[in-house]
């Protein structure tokens, strides 16, 4: 492996890039990483990857960011790969490598494919290297049937595991697509500097993924983080409760206990406070523009359900309906048109469900407050705010956009507290504060 610049410099820029993506790396860890490099050397790349990960990472959540950044700073190879193949030849070899699950061959093919198919600009390659263009031309996903047919050839009876194979090959193709992405980033880094590409092209870790810009795969990944996140919040809460429960001595019970030790209060008894569990009402915009955000929040709140004494969930686009049972498909959330209308939705909520809001209730309104220039119906929101213990509005848009275009955010923010909530990390922090003590 060739590394330009000294290893210490490379390591520090690597660490800087990781910090830029929210991986908290202190000077102590950087020193550890240095020790790791000194002990392992640069000879075995996968060992170096594992070693640096063990020194720099403190959890598995940031592994994807780490791997992508590692691939940039400690690249598999430098420069362009050997060989010029046509698309047909590449596809042929790719099919073979997929069938054999030959990882070295797949990595090599990713490099060749980016070289042959991924350059854009004039002259070719001057504009950069595109993974999307490479994959568009190579179309690895269309090889599935061919690989499967090849594997079953020469077998007289179908085997039970045949039915699992399609899924397996699909996974291999997915991994290959990711490799093409890595390779395109590496080439781009050679063109415009590693630090620049590390900042721009490495996707953020899932808990920092912006709700509004998450793609399907990221949303699926986010949904998978719901349970761990809920568990984390719940244990923090348990610790908080334990701490809060200590402190005050219960005199009567201490005296009672002291009888067994001849009146000497050896074991003091403490007064336990009953946890106050608030009720929660969620009022969610489920229109497509904020769907990822709302969906994730609803799942998180459902997972934390036993932390609240009562949770009710209402969904709206321009009509409001209760979806506490989780069945969004059956709910009536749109009327005559498919656009968000916060005014009408809030109005309908106050008409039909106001009894859900009591002085013990915390109300969470989720949405971007983009009202499509209709009446914001501030009195309805005031009515809710007057009845509830607290009302918070979580807005997935950055505050700079709040009063632009058709956003009624500024008007609503005048009535209730509005906070930006753009990723899972922020949402987790917010919900933690909301949880009962």
């Amino acid at each position: 492996m060739t590394v330009t610049g000294g290893v210490p410099e490379r390591l520090t820029s690597f660490v800087h890039a990781l910090r830029g993506h929210g991986v908290r790396v202190g000077p102590g860890e950087t020193l550890d990483a240095g020790a790791v490099v000194a002990v392992l050397g640069l000879e075995h790349r996968e060992r170096l990857r594992a070693g640096l990960a063990s020194a720099l990472l403190r959890g598995e959540g940031q592994r994807a960011v780490f791997d992508a950044t590692f691939d940039l700073y400690f690249p598999l190879r430098v420069g362009a790969p050997q060989g010029e193949s046509s698309v047909a030849e590449l596809r042929e070899r790719l099919a073979e490598a997929l069938a054999a699950n030959d990882r070295a061959a797949l990595a090599g093919l990713a490099a060749e494919a980016v070289q042959a198919l991924g350059q854009f600009g004039n002259p070719p390659g001057s504009g950069g290297w595109s993974a999307a263009q490479t994959l568009d031309r190579l179309r690895p996903q269309t090889l599935l049937a061919r690989v499967l047919a090849g594997q079953r050839q020469g077998r007289s009876v179908p085997e039970f595991t045949d039915r699992l194979e399609a899924e397996e090959i699909r996974r291999r193709i997915g991994a290959f697509r990711a490799q093409v992405g890595t390779e395109a980033r590496r080439r781009a880094a050679e063109l415009s500097g590693t630090d620049e590409i590390a900042r721009r092209a490495v996707a953020p870790s899932v808990d920092r993924t912006d709700f509004l810009f998450a793609n399907q795969a990221q949303l699926a990944e986010l949904r998978r983080t719901v349970q761990p996140l809920a568990r984390k919040l719940a244990t923090r809460l348990a610790a908080r409760r334990r701490r809060a429960a200590r402190g005050q001595i219960d005199l009567r019970r201490t005296l009672r206990r002291s009888l067994s030790t001849g009146g000497v209060p050896l074991r003091p008894a403490y007064r336990r406070r009953r946890p106050q569990r608030p009720e929660l009402v969620l009022l969610c915009d489920v229109s497509s523009s904020v769907a990822g955000f709302t969906d994730f929040t609803m799942l998180l709140v459902q997972a934390l359900r036993d932390q609240f004494s009562k949770v009710r969930v209402f969904a709206f686009v321009n009509r409001t309906d209760e979806v506490t049972d989780g069945d969004l498909a059956r709910a009536t959330v749109t009327g005559h048109h498919p656009y968000s209308d916060y005014g009408t939705a809030l109005g309908e909520f106050t008409e039909r469900y106001l009894e859900a809001v009591t002085p013990r209730t915390a109300v969470l309104i989720l949405g971007d407050a983009r009202n499509n220039r209709r009446d914001p119906n501030l009195p309805a929101l005031k009515l809710i705010a007057d009845r509830a213990r607290r009302v918070y509005w979580l807005n997935p848009e950055p505050p700079a956009l709040w009063s632009t275009g058709d956003s009624a955010a500024a008007e609503y923010a005048g009535v209730v507290t509005m906070r930006p909530c753009r990723n899972a990390r922020q949402l987790g922090q917010f919900i933690e504060r909301l949880l009962p003590t």
Binding site: D32, A53, S54, A55, E159, F160, T161, R163, L164, T235
Partner: protein, 291 residues
């Protein structure tokens, strides 16, 4: 960088892999590398990952390889200093006091707080003595935050202070493995003291080797099929994903049943060996299209 602070068990990464394999633990590149680093740099190794991937086994295997005693601190909610570090043997102290009624208070006091009345618990035991030691702090996430503070102190300097006796420093550093199922977030400070290893389910090739090592006599093709099915199950959304131990159990079951290939009937009848919830079995049967 010399291994001055290290525990000095291994010389190279390859040696880690070979010697662990000799005691029946097949290590992936990541495992072999981090074990080597933990040994060489003398840092505790924090191993996190789903249940049943061999976190505890790893500590046992390292102990077996090093010919070291394995000291285990099993954490649970409410484990405290006197369970983890040391406590005074009150009963024996009382006996000592009653036995020597004639003494002055000063004599008795200095006497009853000596080594003889100390009950060392795992952390202190691991630090005292100079034979090679592997300290396993199991399920660290189950312990309260206060215990983490205690671990921090012990693991950063490998010393323990007993007020009446003074500071006890390790003559020989133990190889420390902390495991966690991530049911609770461990503190940032503790994580910083450790090397971190996320131990996940092994890849298909490694798992086949593990199964064939643990279940000799299993046909290669059958082992391959078993691992494939388990891999597919792990990709499903189940309440409890099958662990490596369950893969091995299943392979043993199949061997006992005399099955030489997997077919629908065999899988359907033995699914209960790998899946522990009725609804998981139902869902898996559906997704594997078992009639």
């Amino acid at each position: 960088m010399s291994g001055a602070d290290g525990t000095g068990i291994f010389a190279t990464v390859d040696e880690v892999a070979t010697r662990l394999a000799e005691v029946g633990y097949l290590a992936s590149t990541a495992v072999a590398t981090t074990v080597f680093l933990a040994d060489r740099l003398g840092k505790p190794l924090l191993v996190e990952g789903p249940a049943g991937v061999g976190k505890t086994e790893l500590a046992k295997a390292v102990a077996a390889v090093a010919g070291a005693r394995l000291i285990r601190l099993q954490c649970y909610e409410g484990v405290d200093e006197s369970r983890a570090l040391y406590e005074w043997n009150h009963a024996k102290q009382l006996l000592r006091i009653t036995a020597g009624r004639e003494e002055s208070w000063d004599e008795a006091r200095s006497d009853i707080f000596s080594e003889e009345f100390l009950l060392p618990r795992p952390l202190l035991t691991a630090i005292r003595g100079n034979q090679p030691t592997v300290l396993l702090v199991d399920e660290t996430d189950k312990a309260d935050v206060e215990v983490e503070g205690l671990l921090l102190e012990v693991l950063s300097d490998f010393q323990v202070t007993v007020p009446e006796l003074g500071t006890i420093t390790a003559e020989r550093r133990p190889f420390v493995v902390l495991t966690s199922n991530a049911t609770r977030e461990l503190s940032e400070a503790l994580r910083r003291r450790c090397l971190f290893l996320h131990l996940d389910f092994p890849d298909a090739e490694l798992e086949q080797r593990i199964v064939r090592l643990k279940v000799p006599g299993l046909d290669r093709a059958l082992a391959e099929s078993v691992v494939k099915v388990v891999g597919a199950l792990r990709a499903m959304e189940l309440r409890k994903l099958p662990s490596v131990a369950e893969t091995i159990d299943w392979a043993r079951t199949l061997l006992a049943l005399g099955a030489d290939t997997l077919d629908e009937a065999v899988v359907r009848d033995s699914l209960g060996v790998i899946l522990k919830h009725q609804e998981d079995i139902r869902r898996a049967a559906e997704e594997l299209t078992l009639s």
